[in-house]
Symmetry: C2
Subunit: 234 residues, 2 copies
Amino acid sequence: MSIQPIALSNARISTFRPGAASRPATGFEQTLAQGQLRRIEAKEFLFAEGDTISHVYRIETGALALYKILTDGRRQVMGFAYPGDIVGLGIDDKYTMNAQAVKPTRVRCLPVSALRQSAARDPALGLKLYETMARELAATRDLMLTTGQRSAMERVAGFLLAFSRRNQRNGQDPASFELPMTRTDIGDFLGLTIETVSRTFTKLKLMHLIELAHSNHVKVLDIDALAELADGDA
Amino acid sequence: MSIQPIALSNARISTFRPGAASRPATGFEQTLAQGQLRRIEAKEFLFAEGDTISHVYRIETGALALYKILTDGRRQVMGFAYPGDIVGLGIDDKYTMNAQAVKPTRVRCLPVSALRQSAARDPALGLKLYETMARELAATRDLMLTTGQRSAMERVAGFLLAFSRRNQRNGQDPASFELPMTRTDIGDFLGLTIETVSRTFTKLKLMHLIELAHSNHVKVLDIDALAELADGDA
DNA sequence: CGGAACATTGACCCATGTCAAGTGTCGTGG
DNA sequence: CCACGACACTTGACATGGGTCAATGTTCCG
């Protein structure tokens, strides 16, 4: 896979499906399902880097940007969290990133104390947490391969491609979607300036690979060509 | 901390200290201690991306480079593994990176089957694995902040600084050390070409912040200035 | 309608990549 | 012990992708 900009997209601790009995609900999922629902507005923080960890969250609707900042203001977006994703896990007692909503978002809250208790008893939960982290690590490494080695065009094409594929996985239209985040977010995610992101979008338009109805609504015209541009990958 | 280029440097599953009884050895550590010792030569692979996972390894002596490659040859070194570090963990049944010795290296081997068995029974082990991954994730994110947002000088200064600090933690001279890896490895790690790495080393020499006896022996003359150059961090 | 926030576009510049030559350093074989 | 080749590193000259700065356009909302 060429790009994996979705911090926790595969990091779901097994989505809870009431109908499908194939996978029994763990204590964690049961607890989470009863967790309090919380609504946050666009640009509001769910938590900030350095805050003491109180809860772990699962996104229900909306989207979050997860990022770190340097003192001089440079910012690296580590990923975006979408419905189903879990955010806030970590071994220290402080959050290591900022989690800021990019649009109105609802999350379900689980106190970490409850998580710790369960984990001390249930070997399966410990392994799930391990899996979750391992997946996120894999995603982060893919992103690093991207920001470390690829050209602006490869990065942007890969970003759009990942979005398209994510839609497909979720049974939505892979050829037409709304980007919830700003150019600044995309730039800070890919390690580019907003100008470069914008220019690259324009190039893709001129090549007739995409259309931009409004600046955030993307229509993919030629996904194969897009994949080729994004490529350079195993 | 400004840079953390050491993939698994903090990812040790609690170093086993026979003398200190404060921390009881887990089943994992006991098993590992009895694991087979294996010697690999410089440039030899411990495992390659895509190989089926058979063992998890702990480095005893030497150093490994862990990296991914794109089809066109571009390479991203994700980190280096030093004595005490654990490599080979992952949720899939294939290794996700190449692990290649940068100098003669000895590792202790643990079959994953043994690990899986232990983990199914022991909640503490699952949590340790989780911790290990969480630490490595944090290190990878720091590296991403580096390759994504920093200048060549910041990257190289940070790299040397991390090396110095690592030596200090291990009770060795923080002002004088041998880099086990080539300029190519450093470049592919920091997302720079070997020429840029070399030129940056030269600049640091001219600024009298370091000395290079042989091209791989670094003497740090002014660690504070180095830290300042590396900085831009929280 | 007005203004704020975001996006696009253009002109220019610079840090870093590219290409090429030159300089150690090491190990091997004569 | 020296000659040689292999390999890694350094240095220089030049090219360029993407950053910076500035002006303009677009969308949205009060």
